[in-house]
Amino acid sequence: MYNKLKNLTYRNRHSIAVFFLLNVACLTCIFLVAARVAYTDTTRHTGLIWNLFLAWIPFILAYIAHSISWRRNWVYLVIPIIAALWLLFFPNAPYMLTDLQDLARSGGVGAPLWYDVIIVVWCSWTGMLLGVISLYLIQDIILRNFGRWAGWLFVIGISGLSSFGIYIGRFVRLNSWDILQNPAETTMEILGLVIDPSMRLAAFTVLYTFFFLFVFVLLYSFSHMLQEQTLRAQSTPEQLASTQPTQVNPHP
């Protein structure tokens, strides 16, 4: 029993590490905001904590979906429900990027400006990482079931949708759960935006889509680079891992 648990922990040690690190990051954000509140007696930036909480929802949904996706018969039943919920809440994670505009509104009032900068940076990066990792987990399910191309098309589609979602959250001030509470009104409002898009909507969506895609693809390749490195090191242990180009069997 004990050994089994030990093996399980050991095998999943990196996912546990990622989970743990993100928790630590959130605690740091909360601590930084709390220190600011205690020091200045204003409640500025407390909204960030709420946004961070919202950014955790898609991450947890993706985690659940990914861990049950190994059972074939569950994939077609439970996953679509979780995926739909996930899609609804996903834009909350990259939405954290636009919280930087708190700086433009009230940066440096009461506390030094650099402190506000670091609060907002910690929160927005944590939110983005939560988003990237949850998207990766969902992409992995799709890769396994429908192939490589489907996975990447999915990522591109989600990036576009999520920037549209950020726009809706930032400028129309709708929340993820509005579509569940009063579906008809919300749908009409969104349809109105889609049918007659403003210049701002187009520019905003395109630019944020590119930014999110850049971050996702870069973190993806960076991570595979680490894997490449270990593959090279394993194939010729006596040579220097980073420097000697060696023949690697692409299908080990």
């Binding site: 505009q101 907002v120 910690w122 990792i133 630019l207 870069l218 490449e228 420097t243």
Partner: protein, 237 residues
């Protein structure tokens, strides 16, 4: 011909992708900056381009260092020559984050969301350039002195980079000042180091821990891929 190039490059596929993406994103951020200049008719944020250029220098040095590391014979002569300038220039990469403070000045011509995206793009490129170059250096240290030394190196560099950002932001020194006024700078530095202000302590600890957090999280995220793609059952005895 193409076949040999392909097989040579195959094991470096993702490293080349990272490099290409960093080039692409730098180019795109400069294009965005140009668009902003044309639209608004002012030249705000010119410093971002200069800071991004400075952020590329440590990556170039890290590449040079990892190609020096191939020749194991002269390692003890070439390494300090590569590592010390790298360490001097390294804080320029995470430094771009602090440029976000310029958002607090109101710029009437351009909407805030555009400026936010512009600075974010520069800042993310800068941080990721830093993470990538630190990764290359960590690899050299690990190959020479082992795993634990590699991680100690990362933590030390993370702490030093917080210090470097503070020096750049508040004392307004540049990386190359140490070459031009070595004695003066060293004396001033010793003075500030022996009389630290509360601000400097908080600033350095928060920025350093941020950079170390980002680095470790990206590293763990990378190993997560490995865990899932290989499924090598590694049992503990």
């Amino acid at each position: 011909m193409f076949q040999t190039i392909y097989t040579k490059l195959q094991p470096f596929k993702f490293r080349l992708t990272v490099f290409g993406l960093l080039c692409g994103s730098s180019l795109l951020s400069v294009v965005l900056f140009r668009v902003r200049t044309i639209l608004s008719g002012s030249d705000d944020y010119t410093f971002l381009v200069w800071n991004l250029f400075l952020a590329w220098i440590p990556l170039g040095m890290a590449y040079a260092a990892s190609s020096f590391a191939k020749k194991r014979r002269y390692l003890f002569i070439t390494m300090p020559l590569a590592v010390i300038p790298w360490l001097l220039f390294f804080p320029n990469s995470p430094y771009i984050l602090t440029d976000l403070q310029h958002l607090s000045h109101l710029r009437p011509n351009i909407p805030v969301w555009f400026d936010m995206l512009l600075i974010n793009w520069f800042a993310w490129t800068g941080i990721l350039l830093g993470v990538f170059s630190l990764f290359l250096m960590q690899d050299i240290v690990r190959n020479a002195f082992g795993r634990i030394a590699g991680w100690l190196f990362v933590i030390t560099v993370g702490l030093l980079s917080g210090l470097g950002i503070y020096i750049g932001r508040f004392l307004r020194w540049n990386s190359w000042d140490i070459l031009f006024h070595p004695l003066e700078r060293l004396r001033d530095f010793l003075y500030y180091a022996t009389h630290p202000s509360l601000q400097s302590i908080i600033f350095i600890s928060v920025f350093s821990s941020f950079f170390i957090f980002i680095y470790i999280t990206l590293y763990a995220f990378g190993l997560l891929f490995q865990e899932q793609t290989h499924h090598v059952p590694q049992e503990i005895k």
